[in-house]
């Protein structure tokens, strides 16, 4: 049981991933030879802070309701990367972003990210703790959706960015943002949410595009290397599926 095949394969995969990430990070230290395809949603996200300053309407950001203590941890971390970038860009304006979190652990981490963004910009004194708030627990998705839609319905925000684990309650938020003519950038790992997001806005981050947030927004060598790692693993998975499909064609003896 302990040293079962699945466990060993999992361990092997983890070791391989760590080693690949390490060597790829060293390779991309000088960030040369890296070409990332344009993702419209990230391009628009980078302009949101400027737009907020120009229009006088702040940004609403929601990292979703994925708990950091559950399997939604990577999705929430990807959303926090976007929050970090937004905070750093908007910290110098008088319209700081408003952050709504749907989980306690995510709420505390988001608050820390915001404060770090202000410190990174050298405006630690301008940090307001009231700009991040807890809406509902992760096991009350409709309550979370209703709370966020209420915030968006107030009309004080010019854009609504949702990057994280979120479900079909996204429809409530998207409708509220649409009524107030707010720009929307949505990224989720939930299929139902993606189906809603596609009909609400063109700026959708589907699945793995959401996990590339750090690479597009922070452009650290490790983040770009992780994209390379994803590509490698994807190739391996595709090869595995292909091989399995070919093998399955042959009758078992």
């Amino acid at each position: 049981m302990i040293f079962s095949t699945p466990n060993l394969v999992a361990l092997l995969l983890i070791v391989f991933s760590i080693a690949s990430l390490y060597f790829l990070t060293r390779r991309y230290v000088d960030r040369s030879g890296v070409g990332l395809r344009n993702i419209k949603a990230y391009e628009k996200l980078q302009k949101q802070a400027v737009k907020a300053m120009a229009s006088g309407r702040s940004i609403h950001f929601s990292p979703g309701r994925g708990s950091l203590s559950k399997a939604t941890n990577p999705t929430s971390l990807a959303g926090l990367s976007g929050l970090q970038r937004i905070t750093e860009d908007a910290s110098s304006s008088d319209k700081p972003p408003l952050v709504s979190a749907g989980d306690g652990t995510l709420f505390m981490t988001a608050r820390d990210v915001i404060r770090g963004g202000y410190e990174h910009s050298g405006r630690a004194k301008a940090y307001e703790s009231q700009k991040s708030q807890f809406i509902a627990a992760d096991n009350s998705p409709m309550a979370f959706g209703a709370g966020v839609s209420d915030i968006l319905n107030q009309g004080e925000h010019g854009s609504s960015i949702i990057m994280g684990h979120i479900g079909s309650e996204l429809a409530l938020m998207a409708e509220a943002a649409e009524r107030k003519h707010q720009d929307q950038i949505i990224g989720s790992d939930n299929l139902a949410a993606l189906a809603v997001a596609v009909s609400a806005t063109e700026d959708v981050l589907m699945g793995e595009e959401l996990y590339a947030a750090a690479a597009y927004l922070q452009e650290e060598p490790a983040h770009i290397a992780s994209l390379q790692l994803q590509d490698i693993l994807r190739i391996l998975v595709a090869l595995g599926i292909l091989i399995a499909a070919i093998v399955s064609l042959f009758p078992r003896t």
């Binding site: 990807a78 970090q84 709420f107």
Partner: protein, 202 residues
């Protein structure tokens, strides 16, 4: 001191990441223990979140927001019911509140999704005039009508097409998205285990 402040969370991340990995793979008891600790921290974080919720809406109540007042009163009432249930002053108070208040409210919100999704579909036609929007609307209509049995050959055709769409395009697309999500999650998790991605030290 500053270096300790920055190094300690990283060291803890290294240690507990390795322990959790070893526990998941080889020592289940270790994983269970760590999971228990995580659950405990999650509950504490939930309490902090509830306190934040209370403070935010209390401030809004002072400024005259009535809906925030309803929220504050509801929050206090539910906490009170939980305490009274615990001390056996009441019996099933929380369950009753959940059954007669929360459940209907959540169901009502969920029922509104149908309207919002329909609005969004019409808006796609209204605002985007592209081949992708046409494909989107066409597949949507086919799937909706294919689930029902329309009279005549139209029903058969639509049914067959919707089945093929579901089994081939929808299933494979969903599977592909899920695989991509899984791979992305692996990459992010590896970054956290290696300490290159530090959400705790921003």
């Amino acid at each position: 001191m500053n270096q300790i402040r920055q190094s300690l969370p990283l060291a803890l991340a290294y240690v507990f990441g390795a322990l959790a990995l070893i526990g998941l793979l080889f020592v289940p008891a270790l994983a269970k223990t760590i999971t228990g600790w995580v659950g405990f921290l999650a509950v504490i974080a939930l309490l902090i979140g509830i306190l934040n919720l209370f403070s935010v809406h209390s401030r809004r109540l002072v400024r005259g927001n009535i809906y925030s007042g309803v929220l504050v009163v509801s929050l206090v009432a539910m906490i009170g019911l939980g305490i009274t249930d615990f001390i056996e002053l009441t019996d099933g108070g929380v369950s009753a509140a959940f059954k007669y208040v929360q459940a209907p409210l959540e169901a009502a919100f969920a029922s509104m999704l149908a309207f919002f999704l329909l609005f969004a579909g019409v808006r796609v036609i209204q605002r985007r005039r592209s081949w992708w929007a046409i494909i989107f609307i066409t597949s949507l209509v086919i799937f909706l009508l294919g689930r029902t049995s329309l009279p005549g050959f139209l029903g058969e055709i639509l049914g067959t097409v919707s089945d093929i769409m579901t089994l081939v395009f929808v299933s494979s697309g969903m599977r592909g998205i899920l695989i991509g999500i899984a791979l992305g999650a692996i990459a992010v998790s590896i970054r956290v285990l290696m300490g290159t991605d530090r959400p705790y030290n921003k």
